[in-house]
Point group: C2
Chain length 257, copies 2
DNA sequence: GCCTAGGTCCCGTCT
DNA sequence: AGACGGGGCCTAGGC
């Protein structure tokens, strides 16, 4: 970690240019307004904000409250720096879509550049993907005798989460949800079922920890089934087996169709 | 804007406690690991990161790259600060859902508190709502002779974006999209139409700047129509009239049924 | 390149 | 309080 901290007055353009050239991360705190033009358009009147300019060409503007940034530009943006009289301008532009973000400072309370080394591994558990892996390893978690033919079966409108056979050999289409299964999830499953020949041809199963309220009625109308699946149980299955040595793709390879 | 910047060694717990008590915003840069447990679970190994702790009880952890935070806790969290030997701990807990985020620092490169005043107004233009207002003001933007009976007509499955009559007196149900109309949008419109008596009873119109690729076929299958509506045009209509003085609800009030 | 689907999505709005 | 839909959503994975 190196650190750059020039004087605020003349430092702005110099420091910012240096940091961006050297691909450093810059922290700014100051009074500014923000104008965005692109897919939509926004204006933010003057106020005190925190700005992060990252080495990958992303920029994020935070107000002193709220989880989400008020304005931003994703990685890959190109920055332009200018001093306009008493004001400092920082502009971030990207193509595809063509968008521009302009921050105009009247005061800069802090500006500092950092060379940050971050190679730490991030891992997230209890995702929908992990639930799918667990059900592929132990299909009985869905119902006794269930066999997975394919995770991620492509059908014309999109991708079925799990596709398999029940113990009586009927085809089963499973829509998997990590959270409560809601209306859009039910509709998605119904769409898949129609494209696979309708309810006569396949069973439609919603697998989730629970159902959203409005979803229950809709599900019944459409003749779909609900199977409770506990994300924690799925996580347990994965951690208690040597599943890491056997990838999902191996399982797919073992099974034809 | 006031500023707090104590020495790093003993300052961590003191400064952080002071800032949180006084509801100040704190910027931290340091080497840390992060552990999250709640709806899901995550671990992030040691590395250099930027941490924002805001006055409303939100915390955001940023890696030196990427738009999105790697870890966070939304507003309303409660913070706990501790020094554990050589390490500094910052924990953010919230109920509903029960979640906990723990940041463990081995090094702190910068810690600084700010009292930020931000009352600047933020406004986003050309939202779907504004497009709706524009079409309500100038229904000809959809097609000549179109009349709006109701914006936001409630039907059993949800809300129709626009409901009106065409120049020949047929009922028209409009699904409005600010971006390309995609498959879910088409399906939603279809659902509404069925609940209003099907295609024989009403025209189904998708109004959007363009169609997503898969959407075209689906739309044709379902016998729906597409009408191009340009968001920029809508913005022009709104900015060229005294629309800000007349709210959407006034318009709804003026019309019965 | 576009499209599909997930997210600790967050967030407002309405029942 | 839960449910529902939007977002400049962003991001990853397929084709």
């Amino acid at each position: 970690m190196e650190r750059l901290n020039l004087g605020l007055e003349n430092g702005f353009t110099t420091l910012l240019k240096t940091c961006l050239d050297q691909k450093k991360t810059v922290l700014l705190v100051g009074r500014c307004k923000v104008d965005y033009v692109g897919r939509a358009r926004s204006t933010l009147e003057y106020g005190d904000r925190i700005i992060l300019v990252k080495e990958d060409g992303s920029i994020i503007v935070h107000r002193p409250y709220g989880y989400q940034p008020v304005n931003w530009q994703p990685p890959g943006s190109v920055f332009h720096i200018k001093k306009m009289g008493e004001r400092y301008l920082l502009k971030a532009v990207r193509r595809k879509p063509q968008e521009s973000l302009e921050v105009t400072f009247t005061h800069i309370y802090m500006i500092q550049g950092f060379s940050l080394k971050d190679e730490g591994k991030f891992s997230l558990h209890v995702t929908e993907l992990e639930m799918k892996e667990a059900l592929t390893l132990k299909p009985d978690l869905l119902e006794p005798g269930f066999k997975v033919l394919r995770p991620e079966k492509p059908v014309p409108p999109g991708f079925v989460d799990l596709y398999g056979l029940d113990k009586e050999g009927r085809r089963v289409v499973v829509e998997l949800k990590r959270n409560a299964a809601d209306r859009p999830a039910i509709l998605q499953l119904y769409k898949y079922i129609e494209s696979l020949g309708g309810r006569g041809a396949v069973r439609g199963v919603v697998a989730a920890p629970c159902l959203a309220k409005g979803a229950q009625r809709l599900m019944e109308q459409m003749g779909l089934e609900f199977k409770r699946v506990d994300p924690k149980e799925c996580a347990k299955v994965l951690s208690s087996t040597d599943w890491r040595t056997r990838s999902l793709s191996e399982y797919m390879g073992e099974r034809t169709v």
